[in-house]
Assembly symmetry: C2
Homo-oligomer: 345 residues x 2
């Protein structure tokens, strides 16, 4: 910067002012400085700026896994919003581990990020608290954190699940099983609650299995359920992984869907329309959630601490009717679930 100043015959302050537009500089001087900048190909050292000023123009993003398509979509939206605002994003995967998450959050704080967006690791264990972050804004999304003072953006997990189970009931199913990962995951549990509510309202008995993490366990659980005296006639799954495992188990057992067993899942994915049969699912607005979380974070960062703390934004989901539920549509039928739906998220 000194070089630029010298070349333009001005003080470093003038260069700084031209760079930031902080104060009025005469057009002529500004021009001279600009020429010097171009000539020297001078680029300000962002590190020094961040160090000196209060803003690093960087936000942190912590998600469980980068390779999970749902999380990746969220992350993409966050990075896009950040770029539009001229911010950089420091990203890290927590591997769904609360300790890793905590350590990485601290590391980001040490790097003086201006804010952090996080999809918390398994909620029961997450050690993220408002206290840890101090003045640094934080917003959690997809799952809440235990500290209610932290903003959170969620989707209608319970209401979505409720609706899709209700749909199965409308198809005449009386014995519907819920297949999930672990109830310790907020979203899975919320979806299970929706399932349970729908069954209770219809006066039906619940039947669930948690542990669809592996293909083997899922297959075994399904075989067990199907060999009961009155086996389920329909399955709902908690998320894409469970959907994959249950679906392939069903196919592997040579079961015809939906004629013998109906099948629906929570969370849409690229290929859900191309399986045989195409899958009826609840679709979550992944990118919208990322955008919303990022926007909320920037509100906090740029407008300062808002008066109201502990915001909770709930985004609507959609039901995508295809064939696995028993419907006979030719193409996808998308049914938006408004916030005022049967159950609250």
């Amino acid at each position: 910067m000194g070089d630029v100043a010298r070349l333009a015959h001005v003080g470093t302050m003038t260069v700084s002012r031209v760079l930031n537009g902080t104060a009025r500089v005469s057009a002529e001087t500004a021009q001279r400085v600009q020429t010097a900048i171009d000539q020297l190909r001078y680029r300000p050292n962002e590190l020094a700026r961040a160090f000196r000023g209060q803003r690093s123009r960087t936000i942190g993003l912590i998600i469980p896994y980068l390779y999970d398509p749902f999380f990746a979509n969220c992350a993409h939206a966050v990075t896009t919003v950040a770029r539009e605002r001229g911010y950089s994003v420091i990203i890290t995967a927590s591997d769904e581990d609360a300790d890793t998450e905590y350590i990485e959050a601290e590391r980001m704080l040490q790097r003086h990020v201006d804010g952090i967006a996080v999809i918390p690791a398994r909620s029961r264990h997450s050690r993220l608290t408002k206290a840890l972050f101090g003045k640094t804004p934080v917003v959690a999304f997809d799952r809440p954190v235990s500290d209610p003072a932290i903003d959170v953006v969620l989707v209608q997990n319970t209401a979505g699940s409720y609706s899709i189970v209700e749909h199965l009931i409308e198809h005449g199913h009386r014995r519907i099983a819920f297949m999930g990962l672990s109830r310790r995951l907020f979203t899975i549990n919320a979806r299970f609650i929706g399932y349970r509510n729908a069954l209770q309202k219809a006066g039906l008995q619940e039947s669930s299995f948690f542990g669809c993490d592996s293909q083997q366990d899922t297959l075994r659980a399904i075989q067990e359920k199907l060999s009961e005296s009155s086996p389920p006639t329909a399955f709902v799954t908690s998320n894409t992984l469970a959907t994959l495992h249950v679906f392939s188990s069903l196919l592997g057992l040579g079961i015809k869907i939906p004629s013998e067993i109906a099948f629906v899942g929570f969370d849409d994915f690229e290929l859900a329309a191309l399986t045989a049969p195409p899958l009826t699912v609840i679709r979550q607005p992944a990118q919208e959630m990322g955008r919303t979380a990022a926007s909320l974070l920037f509100e906090r960062i740029e407008r300062g601490e808002l008066p109201k703390t502990g915001n909770r934004i709930v985004l609507s989901v959609e039901m995508v009717l295809r064939r696995s539920c028993g419907c006979k549509h030719r193409t996808d039928v998308v049914i938006p679930l408004s916030k005022g739906s049967a159950a609250v998220a």
Copy 2:
């Protein structure tokens, strides 16, 4: 830091030394400093460290899209390696746009990242050059950059494509069509070359279509090809997106796979084993590529500029035989393609 020094009755340098283990400090003093650090919950300002020192302990990662599962897997591997080494990762999506990519690379440079890993945007346009980066190490992966001085990690695109087409030929197919996105994409073009080589070796005529970006265009192209006087009996696709579009077109036309038309694709994906029929594909080692690229980058960063510049590492791919090619296996059969395979990547 001054506070810590005062509390421990030492100079700031001693605190610094305890923090970094730079020089030997008496156990007793170190203990006192440590206590003060804990008591004050002192955390070093990484920004100041980076600013002062030569290292920011941050690397940049630029990929076309975060939501593409293949890229996301690569990114996950890169962030994992970085975390193991104590580095942070600044990530950004170029949206496959060379200008965005260039701007973001510059921004990272301004932030003084210690190195950059990049999956370049459409190679013909990428403006990434060794000159832009100066002393900052860069490694490209998945696709090369035009500047041959930059290290690059690739997979056996041509050899993989060659092998899978050869497999189709062994199944007796004589008219095989290649369906791809754009030849302007390095990987797509390399795979097309492999296809072409395999056909030439067998004395067969090529038939290709580029533009499978949308479902409609793909369907139209397929209908056109199938209405030729001697239509193809097998299709190969260039990547997952093309696979999805071709596959659903074929299904939509009521064509039986593989009895009427055989079908194979480049690039495996989570659901390829669950479609009807399961898809035979070439599988790329996404995570391994990310790990390799990151490791190479850290070599450069930590060991300094290596003598040999312009490294080119080519990773092996595998052929995953399922049913869509005409094979009758019960489960996946994975055939690794060694580097010494028929065609060179």
